[in-house]
Symmetry: C2
Subunit: 147 residues, 2 copies
DNA sequence: AAACAAATGTAGCATTTACTACATTATGCA
DNA sequence: TGCATAATGTAGTAAATGCTACATTTGTTT
């Protein structure tokens, strides 16, 4: 009640707030695709191939959890594999990996520029990265350039 | 293989990376407590009491989803309520709400200082805030002071 | 080649968060 | 007071992500 006239109140209005929460939930649904793609590309570069076990080890989850998520990501077209074979990225997965890696590295260097110690920055970036819009990423990029 | 000597390789080593993923998963388990506490405090301040329906509306979820999460948060000691009564915060919930609100506002003003438009910043902050360590928050606070 | 070890896969379970459809309780106004 | 509406609660379902225990497959080493 009150606020029938679209006038701004001192606090965030309901529609902008629910939009923020909804966008956040949508982004959370893309986290696995981004982290797995980025990680798989990285492992392939490091060691030639990415096995379920490597992926699980790097994520710190059981190989069963990794396996199931890998299957879902295959359904969704990010990667492909077959029983007892390494995991490979599709074109879509490679694109996500490349974008995610760039974003990860930009945010990491941004945090480091603020003075955050590397170990702390690495941890924070791993969670933060999925919630930074491309628009915000642009402003961060400009900040890095001019400072 | 290789890397038996603790020497740094050019890429992030396995243990730091899995630690980052693990911390991120732990933080994701605290998101509801933080968002709900912050939101409930806000609604109580705005309208005197927080009803399940208000909370659901602001989050953009069904009232059933809000209800179930409220029950879990009651078990965990963040809030209390009883059937058909408004939701109230415990001391623990109030502490989380206060901290979360301060963090939210600091990050929002940080994003605005970088030039991010308010509507974009609001959305990004809603997701990002849960993944910023207290340590990083300190560096951001210092940045805001000196700029 | 057989045995062993490592990697991968399966079965079964739990938690969190989401929904719709329907039931009940509370509230407000006629 | 009683009815209609709004608010809240319940039932039942689903998806994503986590686990342990056990089974099978693959690769290595005698
Ligand atoms: Mn990440
Ligand atoms: Mn990352
Ligand atoms: Mn939030
Ligand atoms: Mn918030």
């Amino acid at each position: 009640m009150a606020n029938l006239t679209m006038k701004k109140t001192k606090t965030t209005d309901l529609s902008l707030r629910s939009k923020a929460f909804k966008t956040t939930r949508r982004r959370n649904n893309e986290v696995a695709a981004e982290d797995y793609s980025e990680l798989i590309a990285d492992i392939i570069e490091e060691r030639g191939e990415a096995r379920v076990g490597h992926i699980a080890d790097h994520l710190g989850v059981s190989h069963v959890t990794a396996l199931r998520t890998i299957r879902r990501l295959q359904e969704e077209g990010y990667l492909f594999t077959s029983p007892h074979k390494p995991v490979e990225l599709t074109a879509k997965g490679k694109k996500v990996a490349e974008f995610s890696k760039e974003r990860h590295e930009l945010l990491l260097s941004f945090f480091l520029k603020l003075g955050v110690p590397k170990k702390v920055a690495e941890v924070d970036v791993e969670g933060v990265e999925h919630h930074i819009s491309k628009e915000t990423l642009g402003y961060i990029r400009r900040f890095m350039e001019r400072c």
